[in-house]
């Protein structure tokens, strides 16, 4: 089955952020496909390279990056939600006169159209809510 996953929860604030990653790991391990993971709302914080949880805690950005390496997962961070929350790549940072970007490797900024497109080609869209 082809899934699209929507993540609205921020790491450490909402368990849904962790549940989304665990679902993705389990679905891929079971042989399913994930067309795209779309991070919206507070979920954009999953893509912050500056996140530094304590060593004995789950590190969600790294968890997603591991799935990119192993399964070429497509991680899209909603650009409108991200830049207003201070998550952006270097190009956006320059455009907005910021000293540097902080989007973690493996994540890409794009728009809501990526969610609409993903829904059209997926068998199921699962929302991990805020």
């Amino acid at each position: 089955m082809i899934f699209t996953i929507v993540v609205q929860g921020a790491p450490h604030s909402q368990q849904s952020a962790d549940s989304a990653l665990r679902f993705a790991e389990a679905a891929l391990a079971a042989g399913h496909q994930i067309h795209r993971v779309f991070f919206s709302g507070d979920g954009v914080h999953n893509g912050s390279d500056l996140a530094t949880p304590q060593q004995d805690e789950r590190h969600l950005p790294r968890g997603w990056q591991a799935l990119v390496e192993k399964h070429q997962l497509d991680l899209v961070v909603c650009i409108a939600a991200a830049i207003r929350r201070g998550v952006m790549n270097d190009a956006e940072a320059r455009r907005h006169d910021k000293a540097h970007g902080n989007l973690a490797d493996g994540f890409n900024l794009s728009g809501l159209g990526q969610l609409a497109e993903a829904a059209l080609v997926s068998d199921r869209v699962l929302t991990f809510g805020q």
Binding site: G41, L112, L115, A116, A119, L120, V125
Partner: protein, 120 residues
């Protein structure tokens, strides 16, 4: 491009979080992709439908204007939970836009009828 029917489910009040705005933005985006979109208001999301919202007092932009533009995007199927309205002492004639009231069974059927459900 293939066609799928989309149902956007709102559960949250208008200004307590960004979810109401994200739901509207998602509905408009899907409509731009020329896919049929319906919107369902459950629980505290019925407050999104009240007229005379004045969010400028707390530095927020009004969602009511976005509701008014939905017909321009061919989004005309708006549904509201009758139970959610009744629990809050509201009726459809108090709402800012025309909506169809559904009982709990009809809400279930509505969700079943749609190919893609996006929750907010």
């Amino acid at each position: 491009m293939s066609t799928k029917s989309f149902l956007i489910i709102n559960r949250r009040p208008p200004y307590a979080s960004n979810l109401a705005r994200e739901a509207l933005d998602s509905a408009l985006t899907v409509a731009v992709f020329e896919q049929p979109v319906a919107i369902l208001f459950l629980s505290d999301a019925v407050y999104q439908l009240l007229p005379d919202q004045q969010p400028a007092a707390i530095g927020q932009k009004s969602l009511a204007a976005n509701l008014q533009v939905l017909p321009m995007y061919d989004i005309e199927q708006l549904y509201v939970s009758a139970r959610a309205l009744a629990e809050r002492g509201l009726s459809t004639d108090q709402l800012a836009v025309p909506v169809t009231e559904l009982d709990d069974d009809a809400v279930q059927t509505l969700i079943k009828q749609h190919d893609v459900v996006l929750n907010f």
